[in-house]
């Protein structure tokens, strides 16, 4: 024993002195590559058709059960989004227990339980798995959908949809699907407010009883469990689950582009353009080309070491990120090269992405780049295997996509066999800069600069659902039209100069409904410089108050009060001046930009920049009324759009008219304001503005 200790000490001495004398600049070489063992999951099938894959892993006393349904559901026309509700409904109560009891039971065993339109996932400590399986079986076979729960989900879904209508990535996603697959393809179904409204509880029940069937389900059992235990438990809890006939959607053929087109989705007040260069892809999982396209993609734009990233971000600094992807799918997939770039470099970014797409076709990549990417793929493959779920997923993929049995066992062998010639040949087969759709969501002023990329020399415009729309261009207004003539016509339209000139005061009350909560807004104006506004929220009373009196103003709410900062005061004083439409000194702050359409009607566009804020006002060319105002904070790029309608004669106003309906879209969401009462030239107490 002593001897051993001694020799250890000697060794330490040796290594100690060694440490002082070595060349630090020499990079250590890799040891022999470790063998990556891919275990075979155990598998069995229940008499009802449920296919079960078991991966044992006893590192932690945890077991997970994951159901995946191999379905291509038929969503009835006009009910898009129906499948999004099923998961939440399934875990919101069963015939045996209501939602609260179900949640309570899940938490009691510290379990995770989550469902989606095509799956159900549960996880707990092994010792609690019987209870977990009871709950999962109950959700799969005995869920009890409730109208109130569906109504709540519909409301949430609509709120989310509202936000996504102006969210540029969501807009790009929608339009890409419609243009790549065609409007009537199941992969291009888009959820709308109307389609959410159309979904009934009966539709949800139909979906649940049609598609949640064992004969189309895969179950992955992973963790601290043996195959024998898994078989006994799965049989016990899911053996009684009944088979069913499960219909499958049909997929219309997809048209592949033969030339490159530019498809533009105008988005008001964008500070960045979102670019997606895309086309459909006939590449099915398991195809030998999948591994080659993966390696090709790693080099082109798979990550922060891809060429797109290095070019657009590292070299040019135009973007935070630029990537590419190949989506392989057994029906139809797609390719996309993506970037989010500042407005002014939209066309330059498109140009560089196309150049990188051409370069990888035209030039061989160098050996070192390919080898580095192979090392990266080898390493991350091994890291991925640390999670036993990966092994289950691979086994299910093999069955689901009818892949060769040893597909994943040979995965790295096939990765390592890819040559630089393969990369080029694969690029020439799958990268199509001259037969792609360049889809851009952004400010319409950037659109025309993209014309040079369009083989037909035309920019095609779409709305956020992929419907073609007219070019949102600004036409030139007639020589005879000026800000002064527009304002004169506007004043005539709202009751004439005399009525406007004679306005001394205006008081109104309006209501705004936000998710069931009624807000009351009371506004009082004494021209030219007194303004007050108060917002009341039902039983809570006044939640906000603003008063402006000449040069000073105050705002209060939440028990706090403060002076209005000077740069904000101007906005209120402008509101307070009821004569501003007839005062040249006021309206001459605007310049005439031309004619654009608002909801299909020609409007004159006037623009003003003041106090760090840009205001764009739209006056209808025929009715002469002000129909839309967009204000943008120039620092943050955040904007708010108000659309006015239903102009009505105001009581006591000698023919003066004001809008009684206003739709407001802001970063906080959309809301509608309805004016219930409005009166002009009434005596308003001075105390109102204190």
């Amino acid at each position: 024993m002593k001897k051993i200790i001694l020799s250890f000490a000697a060794l330490a001495l040796v290594t100690g002195s060694y440490a002082q004398n070595f060349d630090r600049s020499i990079r250590p070489k890799a040891g022999p590559a470790p063998e990556i063992k891919l275990a075979d999951p155990q598998t069995f099938t229940l008499p009802n058709g449920l296919k079960v894959f078991v991966v044992e892993n006893h590192n932690t006393p945890i077991v997970s059960y994951s159901f995946q349904f191999d379905v291509d559901p038929i969503i009835p026309d006009g009910k898009e989004g129906l499948d999004e509700f099923i998961g939440s409904l399934m875990t919101s109560g069963t015939k045996k227990m209501n939602k609260q009891q179900f949640d309570e039971a899940t938490d009691e065993i510290g379990a995770t339980l989550a469902a989606s339109g095509a799956g159900l996932y549960g996880k707990s400590m092994t010792k609690h798995q019987n209870r977990l399986l009871q709950l999962m079986a109950d959700a799969l076979m005995n869920a009890d959908f409730k109208q109130a729960e569906l109504d709540k989900l519909k409301k949430q879904s609509k709120a989310g949809l509202e936000q996504s209508k102006t969210e540029p990535d969501a807009m790009l996603g929608n339009v890409s699907k419609v243009l790549n697959y065609g409007k009537h393809h199941p992969y291009a179904e888009l959820t709308t407010d109307a389609s959410i409204d159309n979904v009934t509880l009966k539709d949800c029940n139909n979906y649940y009883s049609t598609y949640y069937r064992p004969n189309v389900a895969y179950l992955a059992v992973v963790g601290d469990i043996t195959v024998a235990e898994a078989k006994a438990l799965v049989t016990k809890y899911f053996g009684a689950w009944k088979k069913g006939t499960v219909p499958t959607a049909t997929f219309p053929a997809v048209t592949f582009p033969t030339k490159t087109t530019v498809d533009f989705v105008p988005r008001e007040n964008s500070v960045q353009s979102v670019i997606g260069i895309t086309y459909p892809l006939n590449l099915k999982p398991g195809d030998p080309d999948v591994i080659k396209t993966r390696m090709l993609n790693e080099i082109l734009g798979g990550s922060g070491t891809g060429r797109l990233f290095l070019n657009l971000r590292e070299k040019h600094g135009w973007t935070y990120g630029s990537y590419s992807s190949f989506d392989n799918d057994r029906v139809i997939g797609h390719f996309q090269a993506y970037a989010k770039a500042r407005n002014v470099v939209t066309d330059s970014s498109v140009n560089e992405i196309l150049a990188e797409m051409r370069r990888i076709r035209d030039e061989k990549v160098d050996e070192k780049t390919l080898q580095d990417m192979k090392n990266y793929v080898n390493g991350t493959f091994a890291i991925g295997l640390e999670s036993p779920q990966t092994i289950a997923r691979y086994a299910i993929n093999v069955d689901l996509y009818k892949m060769p049995k040893d597909y994943y066992k040979n995965y790295l062998k096939n990765v390592n066999a890819v040559t630089v010639n393969d990369i080029q040949a694969t690029a020439q087969k799958y990268i199509k800069p001259d037969a792609a759709r360049i889809i851009v969501v952004g400010d319409k002023d950037e659109a025309l600069k993209l014309q040079r990329f369009a083989s037909d020399g035309t920019i095609h415009y779409y709305d956020n659902y992929g419907n073609p729309i007219a070019a949102p261009t600004t036409a030139k207004a007639d020589e005879s039209v000026s800000v002064a003539t527009i304002m004169q016509q506007y004043v005539d339209a709202i009751g004439g100069k005399a009525a406007v000139e004679g306005l001394t005061s205006l008081s109104s009350s309006a209501s705004m409904s936000v998710q069931g909560q009624e807000l009351l807004i009371v506004e009082n104006i004494v021209s030219p410089d007194k303004y007050s506004m108060s917002i009341n929220a039902g039983a809570m009373g006044e939640v906000q108050r603003i008063t402006v009196n000449g040069k000073t103003g105050k705002m209060s709410g939440m028990g706090q009060s403060q002076d209005i900062p000077e740069q904000m005061l101007g906005q209120y004083l402008e509101k307070a001046n009821l004569q501003s439409p007839i005062e040249a000194s006021e309206y001459s702050k605007y310049t005439l930009k031309g004619i654009e359409q608002v909801e299909g009607k020609d409007c004159y566009v006037l623009e003003k920049k003041a106090d760090g804020e840009k205001t764009v006002a739209y006056y209808d060319k025929n009715s002469h009324l002000l129909v839309k105002v967009v204000t943008t904070d120039e620092a943050s790029g955040q904007s708010q759009t108000a659309v006015m309608s239903d102009y009505k004669e105001v009581k006591g106003g000698n023919g003066y008219k004001a809008p009684t309906k206003m739709k407001v879209q802001s970063p906080q969401g959309a809301m509608e304001v309805i004016v219930n009462k409005i009166e002009a030239n009434k005596k308003i107490k001075e105390s109102e503005f204190k």
Binding site: S25, P61, I62, D107, M125, I225, G516, Q668
Partner: protein
């Protein structure tokens, strides 16, 4: 016979479980003070190499906030033997993944590699401990990158300034007052020599823990560690650590903040004892009673029943020094006033302070704690970080194996006691985080 077999298999499952929860490790110090922790696990042919430096934003000069986090960036700039921009590439091109993060208390660097690249990873970490590239070019580059990061992660993200507002008001004396992202202005003002001083003070072996975990041969690993780290000199200076006493709130403190957010949020912060103390464990149990899972009190009452809130939560912020901070937050549903939401939250807080908690509810939460413990060591990277943290904060690496016991020692009476003691209206900060539109309504 069948029955017998079954019970045998159950028994093996049980012993497996018990064994799996015991994380074996060896640890020792190099003469230069570097603490080394080795953990062997051959399930997957990968290795995790990580270094935790015991420096965070709390070690910063108040006029140089953001330094610790800035260093996290600087450490990827290269070393005397690794070219600028090569660090990331070298790890990736050798099959690894890497990252780093900075908290108030420590800075953590980690990479997971195929196990045959262990020596490379050790060399690379030793390179940046010995002679990282700290020069004007790197400083300039990272100044820009950190500013972009601030825009992306804080300025342009809804509720991105929430923690900043909470900490600013919860700590007036202690350097927990500012967040690790700090101020761009201070980073701009700092001279090159200040960066070098910071490096020499804090990036020394006697202020670091090296963890090597995974598919390793410990004998070989020790030799490599001796070779690459043994020659690095011990830091000679005193490592400054704050010893400021943060005064108690005394009475409720209220703060307002306006931001581009869709819905108002309310955050309530209570001073509590630091992590690792018995009362902090009891507070965590209490927080789970309030917000752990769909059947928790705040979730059921505020989100499901009253529908006043879109999301609620209660948690202890992990802080090494006293006092710690326990937080309660709620995001108001559309049309719900922030004050009204707070009233509803307070009603639940009052209930845990004044009414007994049922045994069933207490046991439910203990089960949740046990489950999350069982899960957290599923991946080697997680095991490595837990080992590093336990040593850095408590000098008790074995806490990874004994911490569950600390939770299990908490009694129902303890939970009721800490609720009364710490969720006191006079021991709290209330932050209203409101939409900008509420600041200038009527626009």
């Amino acid at each position: 016979m069948k029955r017998f077999l079954l019970s045998v298999s159950l028994l093996t499952a049980a012993t497996f479980a018990a064994k799996a929860q015991n994380i074996k490790f060896t640890e020792y110090d190099l003469p230069n003070g570097l603490h080394v922790i080795l953990h062997e696990d051959h399930n997957t042919p990968i290795v995790n190499v990580s270094v935790m430096y015991h420096v965070g934003s709390k070690n910063e000069d108040p006029k140089r906030t953001g330094f610790a986090h800035f260093f996290e960036h600087l450490m990827f700039e290269g070393t005397q033997n690794i070219e600028r921009g090569e660090y990331f590439k070298m790890i990736q091109a050798n099959g690894g993944v890497l990252n780093a993060n900075t908290s108030q208390d420590r800075t953590y660097y980690f990479q997971t590699m195929p196990s045959n690249q262990e020596e490379l990873a050790l060399w690379m970490e030793s390179e940046r401990m010995l002679h990282a590239k700290i020069d004007s070019t790197g400083i300039e580059t990272q100044r820009k990158v950190v500013k972009e990061e601030k825009k992306q992660s804080y300025d342009n993200r809804p509720y991105g300034h929430l923690m900043e507002v909470v900490f600013k008001n919860a700590y007036t004396q202690h350097p927990y007052n500012w967040m690790p992202i700090g101020s761009a202005q201070y980073i701009d003002e700092a001279k090159e020599s200040e960066f070098m001083d910071f490096y020499k003070t804090f990036y020394v072996p006697n202020n670091a823990v090296l963890v090597v975990a995974g598919d390793i041969n410990p004998q070989q690993t020790k030799k490599w560690i001796e070779k690459y780290f043994g020659g690095i000199k011990k830091g000679t200076g005193v490592i400054p650590r704050p010893n400021v006493k943060e005064p108690a709130f005394g009475k409720e403190k209220v703060a307002y903040y306006y931001d581009e957010v869709p819905f108002p949020a309310v955050i309530v912060g209570y001073h509590i004892p630091k992590i690792g103390s018995d009362d902090a464990y009891a507070m965590e149990i209490l927080n789970k009673i309030l917000s752990g899972g769909a059947s928790s009190r705040l979730q059921v009452e505020l989100v499901d029943k009253q529908q006043k809130s879109l999301g609620v939560g209660a948690f202890n912020f992990p802080l090494e020094d006293d006092p710690g901070l326990s937080m309660l937050f709620g995001i108001a549903n559309k049309g719900v006033d922030a004050k009204d939401l707070l009233k509803a939250m307070d009603a639940e807080v009052e209930k845990v302070r004044t009414q007994p908690i049922s045994k069933a509810e207490f046991e439910k939460v203990q089960t949740q704690v046990e489950t999350s413990f069982a899960e957290q060591n599923a991946k080697i990277a997680g095991v490595a970080e837990n080992l590093a943290t336990s040593y850095t904060y408590f000098k008790n690496t074995n806490l990874v194996n004994t911490e569950l016991k600390k939770y299990q020692n908490v009694t129902l009476a303890d939970v009721e006691r800490v609720a009364k003691k710490y969720l006191d209206p006079n021991n709290r900060l209330v932050v209203y985080y409101l939409p900008k539109s509420e600041e200038n309504k009527g626009k």
